[in-house]
């Protein structure tokens, strides 16, 4: 589904991504782990074209590096950014409507279904997005991206700073997404969530992938966790 090889990116003169390589198969849940500032968010931003990428990014067999963001999204790649980016002046319903790429509803998800899944969003359908709590905004941001019916989603730290109860709901939604055959690249810091839902995991060090494996192998690899994850 998604193949990234020797990806490089810069912020001005600082070389943030130094040859990142990994792959995600169709319907797979893959986590990208690593400490603060190693370049996980930059990796997903480079894939979406929000940061200028150099290297190979192949989505459904086609090179997308350097294409405009809207075109990448239209090919079926969804993105939920770490700061959620809810449109604050638009209502919850309008936020969801803008997730759709056209006015005709189609595909795996509908607004009705989203509201059935999350009554707390349904109750606030006509409230401006800016008035929601952090957890509600996270759920809304994920659902908004799903409205575009992506075949794969990049989700950047969806549980950061959220109460355990909402973290639970985010976890449920991630499983629901996967159950509909949508591939997920999950950027995470919380090891337990990643271990519970991922098929495979990658760990990033300074601008590079330094380890790859399954949840079982990571549970065993104490020295890997100590070197690249634990603070």
């Amino acid at each position: 589904m998604l193949e990234v090889a020797d990806l490089n990116a810069w912020y001005g003169k600082s070389h943030v991504l130094r040859g990142v390589s990994f792959a995600v198969g169709g319907g797979e849940i893959v986590s990208l782990l690593g400490r603060n500032g190693v370049g996980r968010s930059t990796t997903v931003k480079a894939i979406m074209g929000e940061v200028h990428p150099e290297g190979l990014i192949r989505f459904k067999g086609e090179q997308i590096a350097g294409r405009p963001s809207y075109e990448i999204a239209r090919r079926g790649l969804g993105y939920v950014p770490e700061n959620r980016e809810i449109f604050p002046t638009l209502t919850v319903r309008q936020n969801l409507l803008l997730g759709m790429k056209s006015t005709s509803p189609s595909g795996r998800w509908s607004i009705k279904e989203v509201f059935a899944m999350f009554p707390l969003l349904a109750d606030r359908a006509e409230v401006p997005g800016g008035a929601l709590s952090g957890g509600e905004q996270q759920l809304l941001s994920m659902c908004r991206t799903l409205m575009g019916d992506p075949d794969m989603v990049l989700i950047d730290e969806p549980t950061e700073g959220l109460a355990p109860k909402i973290v639970e709901q985010v976890g449920d939604l991630l499983r629901e997404i996967a159950s509909r055959g949508v591939a997920i690249l999950l950027v995470e810091q919380k090891l337990n969530i990643a271990l519970r839902i991922s098929n495979r995991l990658y760990i990033m060090g300074q601008g590079q992938v330094v380890w790859e494996g399954t949840p079982e192998s990571l549970k065993q690899a104490n020295e890997v966790r100590a070197e690249w994850l634990e603070v």
Binding site: Y70, R74, P81, L98, G99
Partner: protein, 316 residues
């Protein structure tokens, strides 16, 4: 006194809504793209000149329709092939670009139409007094200007708050990257907003040209006031731009209408000055002469007491 109030208010509304026709486009462009378009009023001038030339051959009404369209197309092309390239080099380059564009348009206008004032006339059809109140006439053309501006205001409001495109524009004001990440063609929307914004400026020029006179300096004169409007309203705030447009329109109109002079004002306090005093110019100042300075006076006051403008938000 009541007739002064009625007419000054009507004329203030005409000016205010005309200012808003420019300020709204300027504000939308600024809040979406972060570009303060110094050439915005130049598109207003182009509108007037195009409409003037068209009206010579095909009449006023043809100009009214086609001039804004042509201006909008030029605006869209400027965004697509000029601004978008310059954008990669940062905001300063963009500012310099729009500055240069303003000078270029002024030169082009002088080159093709000459430096003198054009005899751009109101249409025959509207050359009658709309109504007469207290023996004073309100021209049909001013009524027409008012109707067009109100129509544009309502249309703009409807599109922005009700239509899908309007929602996308609102969303792109806060998170343009996210809008693109959801699959919307943001670059195209930028071009369209720039095109529509400049077309509105052009339309303002078409309808104001016969009243405010059509000459090469018209962009600079109105442009500086529009600039004042967007700063007073709060950069990037549409409601602020509306408020400031009406405020300045009415303020200027009242100042001209009331026409009290310094001597009268001083007389209220029982003061009188000999006419041969060296500061005579100061004692005899009257409001009408101060009117053109009022917007800038207000600008300075607002910047001192409320630097973010009336409805602007503080930069984070």
């Amino acid at each position: 006194m009541p007739e002064i109030l009625v007419f000054a208010t009507l004329n203030g509304l005409v000016t205010g809504l005309l200012l808003f026709m420019l300020a709204s486009g300027l504000t939308l462009i600024f809040s979406m793209m972060g570009v303060l378009n110094f050439a915005h009023a130049s598109f207003y001038m182009l509108g007037a000149y195009f409409a003037y030339s068209i009206s010579l051959h095909f009449g006023y009404w043809t100009g009214l329709i086609f001039a804004p369209v042509i201006v909008g197309i030029i605006g869209a092309l400027v965004e697509r092939y000029g601004l978008r390239r310059v954008h990669q080099h940062g905001h300063v380059a963009e500012l310099v670009f729009t500055f240069g564009l303003a000078f270029l348009i002024e030169e082009v206008v002088q080159f093709f139409w000459g430096p003198d004032t054009k005899n751009y006339q109101t249409p025959e059809l509207l050359n009658f007094p709309l109504f007469t109140l207290f023996g004073q006439e309100f021209s049909a053309y001013r009524g027409f200007m008012l109707a067009i501006s109100i129509g544009i205001f309502i249309g703009l409001y409807q599109v922005l708050t009700r239509s899908r495109v309007g929602l996308i524009i609102q969303a792109a004001i806060t998170h343009p990257h996210m809008v693109a990440n959801l699959g919307h063609n943001v670059p195209l929307i930028f071009t369209a907003v720039f095109g529509v914004g400049t077309a509105l400026a052009g339309l303002a020029g078409v309808i104001a040209g016969p009243v405010l006179t059509t000459y090469p300096g018209m962009a600079l004169v109105l442009g500086s006031i529009v600039f004042v409007v967007v700063v007073i309203g709060g950069l990037g705030s549409l409601p602020g731009a509306l408020l400031a447009s009406l405020l300045i329109g009415l303020l200027q109109s009242y100042a001209i209408a009331v026409d009290v002079g310094m001597p009268e004002l001083l007389a209220v306090f029982g003061l009188e000055f000999p006419r041969d005093h060296p500061l005579d110019d100061l004692w005899t100042l009257n409001l009408t002469r101060i009117a053109p300075i009022l917007p800038f006076l207000l600008l300075v006051l607002v910047l001192i007491f409320r630097p973010t403008g009336l409805m602007g938000k503080r930069e984070q």
